[in-house]
């Protein structure tokens, strides 16, 4: 041999590893195990991006190291292959998404093999393979047949759900509806985000902070009321929160998950609606507040525009204004509405409610800084001690009553303003002007005040201590062809049933047209042969036409790798006990919230049902950084494609006019022509160099 010939050496050893199945997962369970997982890629038509190998190399280094140290290593790879691009390509060209997907997977596989990554290819999975999605559907049925026992904080089979006597008495339909109202996967009218551009509903999580749709980047999202499948992930809020304490994850990711779950402790308080004379009626407006201790300072109330009492509260002379306001609010995103810096808007309903502590009537407003999905969708406003309430009160000239003298952390001049109702003090201090005939908080500080007021409210039956979560139920259906079909039938008498396990997989029907309907129905609504079913009693039914979101397949793929060829079970219990949890999980931080939260939720349900032994799936998590590229921009700030740039003495110039350009760092993109193709790199320098 002469020089270091990367092509010759590398292809030789890759062929050797392939032929000898060198990296086949060991089966000897007396050895220690190491499960090392990469976030599996969506096999896009563009092929492997140079950002992929970085994370894959990291796990590969660990795996090779662990093998040399005597561990059985599970190091698998697969494809998260349902998704929009293959479907859009199908709409344009008529090519079936499965053909596009297969081709892209083949490209990805050969590119990955050329990097010398030590995957056990016998473990390869593909979420679009019926042998795989059979079990995704099977898990969906488990979720459908599970309810959450809040006392035990645990998911339990729906057959164990206690039926209240009054429901039982109403008959079979009432019992069925009661059960359906408790299932973890449920079908309901949902006030959902709809992207007009993609013609698809989006999960709350998919609408970004700026109100744009994560997938297409346009701002053509609006709220619509549609029948959808949802998952009661919100019931698992506390479990999802507690589990974070037991895993070795970057602090930033844990914080993001905690914020997303958004647990807060406070109280629900009932305000009686006042009649025209200002006397309490039996109608109540329930608020959630984290500061019930400031009730003495509540000077007005706000309900969200979507609150179900809005029209009842609105008096005839305010009707036009309220209706216009509600309509306008529907077009804004939650982020737009709650952003602190945003100018506050709102309208008066004309109604008043009675502060249970002071007995005074206070006006009820509609404003979009209150969200319907958080708490009860209504708040009491204490402008003296809450910044947003203060801004709102200033703008609409509502009274500000200070009921807490700021503590020593407050500068003297601010303190004077606060006491005078001209500034806001949201922090701690000593209560003043906080007493009625049976309760006084005066002189106490926040911690004691909270306790005392909640006890009083509970005693007088005005309210109770409540824990609240920002986490909402997860919107789980999409109006798409290229996704897992729901194993669900809607019957003509209104009953919904899940397929029997024996009927799985429910295959996607073959189709020629993949266009979704404008009205919001999925392309599957056109597959008439597939769609309509009749049961043995002649009852007619229609299959669910929505498909599952791409998150479904990635919620449990790490479990399937362990036992990817098992046709009898989704996963053998002994193997699960040996291999779980995943010891190291590496992927991009962009999955910090959604994928990791959803898969942890599924895992906990499977754990509650006794299907997996572990409560948390991923022991250690690591995020690799993103690989960016140099890009160039001219004086005006517009970007210049890399092939129109030349370098002279460390400076950069546009070839056409010789103008000097600034070198910046940006994401790789086709339009900037700065995408680095790993194949070219491997050809020039070899895979070993790329790995370093």
């Amino acid at each position: 041999m002469a020089k270091y010939n990367t092509q010759e050496i590398e292809t030789k050893w890759q062929a050797y590893w392939d032929a000898h199945k060198t990296f086949k997962t060991g089966a000897d369970q007396t050895k220690p195990k190491y499960y090392c997982l990469d976030m599996f890629p969506y096999p896009s038509g563009a092929g492997l991006h140079v950002g992929h190998p970085e994370g894959y190399t990291a796990t590969d280094i660990i795996c090779r190291y662990k093998r040399a140290n005597g561990f059985n290593v599970l190091h698998p790879m697969g494809w998260d292959a349902f998704g929009l691009p293959a479907e859009q390509y199908a709409i344009q060209t008529g090519t079936h998404p499965s053909i596009t997907t297969k081709k892209n997977c083949d490209t990805f596989r050969s590119q990955i093999k050329r990097l010398g990554l030590s995957y056990d290819w016998d473990k390869e999975i593909n979420t679009t393979d019926p042998k795989y999605y059979k079990w995704t559907q099977w898990i969906f049925i488990r979720l459908y047949n599970t309810w959450f026992d809040e006392t035990l904080q645990k998911g339990r089979p729906i057959s164990e759900l206690p039926i209240p006597q009054d429901v039982e008495a109403k008959g079979k339909v009432a019992v069925r509806e009661y059960r359906d109202s408790k299932r973890l996967a449920y079908y309901a009218d949902a006030h959902v985000w709809w992207c007009k551009h993609c013609k698809i509903v989006c999960a709350n999580e998919e609408v970004l902070a700026d109100g744009s749709h994560e997938k297409c980047g346009t701002k053509e999202v609006e709220k619509r009321n549609l029948k959808q499948w949802l998952m009661r992930i919100s019931l698992y809020g506390d479990r999802l929160l507690k589990g974070l304490d037991s895993v070795d994850w970057p602090q930033g990711i844990k914080d993001m998950q905690r914020n997303w779950i958004g647990k807060s402790e406070g109280a629900e308080v009932d305000f009686a609606i006042a009649d025209k004379a200002g006397n309490a009626t039996s109608d109540k407006l329930r608020v959630y507040t984290t500061r019930p201790d400031t009730l003495f300072g509540a000077t007005y109330m706000v309900v969200a525009p979507e609150h179900k009492l809005v029209s009842a509260l609105t008096t005839p002379e305010n009707k036009a204004a309220v209706e216009a306001y509600v309509k306008a609010a529907a077009l804004k995103s939650d982020m737009d509405r709650t952003e602190l810096a945003k100018e506050k808007t709102g309208v008066f309903t004309g109604s008043y409610a009675i502060n249970p502590l002071t007995g005074t009537s206070i006006p009820v407003w509609v404003a979009d800084y209150v969200l319907t999905g958080y708490g009860t969708g209504a708040i009491m406003a204490v402008p003296a001690h809450d910044n947003r309430d203060f801004d709102f009160a200033q703008k609409f000239d509502l009274p500000v009553i200070c009921i807490m003298e700021p503590d020593a952390t407050c500068p003297a001049e601010t303190k004077a303003l606060v006491l005078d109702g001209k500034a806001c003090w949201p922090a701690d201090g000593k209560y003043i002007k906080s007493e009625n005939a049976t309760l006084s908080l005066n002189g106490l500080s926040k911690k004691d005040g909270l306790k005392k007021v909640v006890a009083w409210l509970e005693e007088k039956k005005f309210g109770k201590a409540t824990v609240n979560y920002k986490l909402r139920d997860w919107l789980f259906s999409r109006q798409r062809y290229w996704g897992e079909p729901f194993p669900i039938i809607h019957w003509e008498d209104g009953e919904i049933t899940a397929l029997d396990d024996k009927e799985l997989p429910l295959l996607l029907p073959e189709m020629k047209e993949f266009k979704p309907g404008d009205g919001g129905e999925s392309p599957l609504a056109n597959a008439t042969d597939w769609l309509n079913v009749v049961d043995k009693n002649g009852r007619k039914g229609r299959r669910e036409t929505n498909t599952m979101p791409q998150w479904a397949g990635s919620c449990w793929y790490y479990l399937r790798y362990i036992d990817s060829l098992n046709e009898k079970e989704f996963l053998n219990g002994n193997l699960e006990k040996y291999w779980m949890p995943v010891d190291l999980y590496v992927g991009g931080a962009e999955h910090a919230v959604l994928h990791l939260l959803y898969s942890r939720f599924w895992h906990k349900v499977l754990h509650d049902l006794g299907l997996v032994s572990t409560d948390e799936p991923f022991h250690k998590l690591f995020n690799q950084g993103m690989i960016l590229a140099y890009a160039y921009e001219d004086e005006a700030g517009s970007k210049v494609p890399t092939d129109e740039v030349e370098e002279k003495n460390g400076k950069f110039f546009r070839k056409s006019d010789g103008k000097e350009l600034k070198q910046i760092i940006a994401k790789m993109s086709k339009s900037l022509k700065n995408v680095v193709n790993p194949d070219d790199v491997v050809k020039q320098y070899g895979a070993d160099s790329l790995r370093l």
Partner: protein, 201 residues
């Protein structure tokens, strides 16, 4: 390659550097001749020390997912191999084993050239003798009134007293002590000596 969790721009220069490192490693362990002979038996002292240090450092860096530090150490090890006229089997095999997670193709090639039939993938990870990795000497600093005046290399187990003695005899320190009175002597073995002085005898 920088830290794994950092966001960074793609740099072809970095890749060229890695390619050059692997080419040097290829020459050091395999060479460009048709056959390579390896010396059995004990290693020269410095090579042995660097080898043991490399095992410790690379192992620790992998555990911490700090791969760039592991590669820096492999470069140091490789420089030591390159310096040696003779190819020592123990050093070359250890190098191949440590290189394997990072550059598995080249490492397999080395392993085969070293005469092994089976893949390197399951060969035992090398273990280090911490004693062998220890530096026999250590760098200490001499200060006067807290200001650094000299750095010297001394045997690792030099006592407090010997350290002060060495400092006083040091030419660059002597100048500061000539017309001054030592108020206090502070000596920390393995680290420093500091003289607090005031002018005049």
């Amino acid at each position: 390659m920088g830290p794994l969790d950092a966001v960074k721009p793609w740099q072809t220069q970095g890749l060229e550097g890695m390619y050059r490192f692997l080419s040097r490693a290829f020459r050091a362990v395999i060479g460009e001749e048709d056959t390579t002979t390896y010396m059995e038996g004990p290693l020269p002292e410095t090579l042995s020390k660097v080898m043991h240090q490399s095992i410790l450092k690379v192992t620790d860096s992998i555990e911490k997912l700090s791969f760039n530090t592991a590669i820096s150490q492999l470069m140091i090890f490789n420089n030591e191999l390159t310096k040696s006229e003779t190819r020592y089997r123990e050093a070359c095999e250890t190098f191949a084993k440590l290189l394997q997670p990072f550059a598995p193709h080249l490492a397999e090639e080395m392993w085969a050239r070293l005469g092994h039939d089976a893949s390197l993938a399951y060969a035992n990870w090398p273990s280090a003798d911490a004693k062998m990795a220890e530096e026999s000497s250590v760098e200490v600093v001499f200060q006067v009134n807290g200001k650094l005046r000299a750095k010297v290399s001394v045997p690792k187990d030099t006592s407090k007293e010997d350290l002060v003695k060495l400092a006083k005899e040091n030419d660059r320190i002597k100048v500061y002590l000539e017309n001054a009175t030592i108020v206090k002597e502070i000596a920390v073995p393995g680290k420093l000596v500091n003289f607090v002085v005031k002018p005049g005898k």
